[in-house]
Amino acid sequence: MAMRLEAVSPPSRFDFIRLEGFPFVPVFILVGLVVVAVFADVLAPHDPEVGRLALRFRPPFWQAGGSAEYLLGTDHLGRDVLSRLIFGARVSMVVGFTAVLFAGTVGTGLGIVSGYLGGWVDQVIMRVTDTWLALPALTFAIFLAAIVGPSEMNIVIILGAVYWTRYARVIRGEVLSLKEREFVRLAIVAGLSKRKIMVRHILPNVINSAIVLGTLMLGVVIVTEAALSFLGVGVPPPKPAWGLMLADGKKGLMVGYWWLTVLPGTCIVLMVLSANLLGDWLRVKLDPQLRQL
């Protein structure tokens, strides 16, 4: 019996690049930000944390009073804005990705356990999730930050702790429907233990959803981090964080020092928008692809 079997490739996670509508610009921006974050030491012209008071409030180079040495101007302590933005990218990226990873791991794990095992395990986890979700994220984060004190590590943990519930909810929903699929039934018939089924059959089939959710959560997490920093309970100074720069810069708005707020604000917008656009596109493209398989 003649059969045409080609390609040895699995349904590659990267096949989607060939799909239509691939959001090149958002991905380019995100990748660019990662590159900037990684190579911050090399790219930044000045030390972001040390400033010269004599040079404070210099405007960006295209305005009168600006210079090429401080391309995007200086802040109230004479620190180079461009360098702070570059290092701020690192902070945002690290905090953002780590927090999303943390929230994702915890949330996906609990979602799988809750969805697959059902019964009282499900009830307990879901009630905890419900209670958690009922708390407004930002307030909760501030509360936690006030307790444990602000530091970069703590912020990651706090953000992870606040946002894992979204994952748990979504992944649990997916698992509930996956559970009914015939290949899971067949795994039970084959004698696999519940643990093995969750790891070998359920997990690989929800990872794509977890990734999509991750890109969407990235934007949310970064905005929250910026808000925390803005309110003074985020990443502590003098470390440069975009939200912190916003907070510091707001005093200068009235006097016309617009670059102190607009520039970090734009960075936040760019990053969040790119993450959201990528996440949206992934959500539309990956899920129907999955169903076809």
């Binding site: 019996m1 059969m3 079997l5 080609e6 699995p10 015939e182 039934r185 795994a187 004698g191 076809q292």
Partner: protein
């Protein structure tokens, strides 16, 4: 001794209790008995709500009976210890209806096929590979299929992979739940032939469930006809197909459509709908639709009695004064 024997098996589900509903009990499977011998096929026919899918789940251990018992190789399933359960899992496998949902899209074919074999055992990878290649050959797929992923295959090919998987632990019984319904007509014969060949080659027993009566009749040695959770007729396939005795079986076979325009069977068209399993009719469940219903049928449920070489549950035959 039969390979698998079900004696008076029941599975009752508690209906949902709501503010305005009192729940009630769904008797999905109600006092069903049958036996499967080694190397034989038992076919189960019936329409929606008859309980054939639940029966399959009971045999596979995906559900536990609420009454009666199932014995495999003489041992009751509920009395099995963990070694016994493991043995059962190796001995009884399944092939389900949807070839697109039966295979984990993220696993290679070799892993999918080997799974029942390697679960709970340590077998050298070389041996596993050999077995997988042998199984692929048995089901008519080329050896290089082993390294591919399910999405590279068509529906009929996927069903072959599912069959190979079901055979990997050298089971004695395979539950086939609508194995060809989701396949194109021209592919069905391929798969049915394959199943028959495998049965002859490996001495397999099948529990064959399908709504395609002709396919069931073609494949089965014995047939069980179910209606709303109860067995209405059971016995040798030839006997039943040639001359069905229960009015429902007659209607079912008449509805099964002729294979040629000259095949003018008496068309029996039943009135009414298939009743809801939540509110089955009293007495004989079939009486509202039965063209031969008598007064007694409404009051008393008939028991299975031997009639002309098979078992029939119908007041039309023999002295049957049993009550519910």
């Amino acid at each position: 001794m039969a390979l698998l024997e079900a004696a008076g098996v029941s599975k009752h589900f508690q209906g949902r209790r709501g503010l305005f509903r009192d729940g009630g009990v769904v008797r999905a499977v109600d006092g069903v008995s049958f036996a499967i011998d080694g190397g034989q096929t038992l076919g189960v026919v019936g329409e929606s709500g008859c309980g054939k899918t639940t029966t399959a789940k009971l045999v596979l251990g995906l559900e536990q009976p609420t009454g009666g018992g199932i014995q495999f190789e003489g041992r009751d399933l509920r009395a099995l210890d963990s070694a016994g359960r493991r043995h059962y899992r190796k001995s009884v496998q399944a092939v389900f209806q949807d070839p697109y949902a039966s295979l984990n899209p993220r696993m290679r074919v070799s892993a999918i096929i080997a799974e029942p074999l390697v679960t709970g055992e340590t077998i050298a990878p070389v041996e596993v590979r050999q077995r997988v290649l042998h199984l692929l050959d048995l089901v008519g797929l080329p050896g290089r299929s082993a390294d591919l992923f399910p999405h590279e295959f068509s529906g009929g090919q996927r069903q072959r992979i599912a069959i190979a998987r079901a055979l990997s632990s050298s089971p004695k019984l395979v539950v086939l739940d609508e194995p060809v319904s989701a396949l194109d007509v021209s592919i069905r014969a391929q798969i049915l032939n394959l199943l028959r060949d495998l049965q002859a080659q490996l001495g397999l027993s099948y529990l064959f469930i399908a709504h395609d009566l002709a396919a069931v009749a073609h494949m089965s040695h014995t047939i069980v006809v179910m209606y709303l959770g109860k067995v209405v007729e059971s016995g040798d396939a030839d006997t039943i197909v040639r001359a069905p005795r229960h009015p429902y079986t007659e209607a079912l076979f008449s509805a099964a459509l002729p294979s040629s325009p000259d095949d003018r069977r008496d068309e029996i068209v039943l009135s009414g709908e298939v009743p809801s399993p939540l509110r089955p009719p009293s007495g004989c469940h079939f009486h509202p639709r039965c063209p031969h219903a008598m007064a007694r049928c409404k009051a008393h449920a008939p028991a299975l009695m031997p009639v002309e070489g098979r078992l029939v549950a119908c007041h039309l035959y023999g002295a049957n004064g049993n009550s519910e």
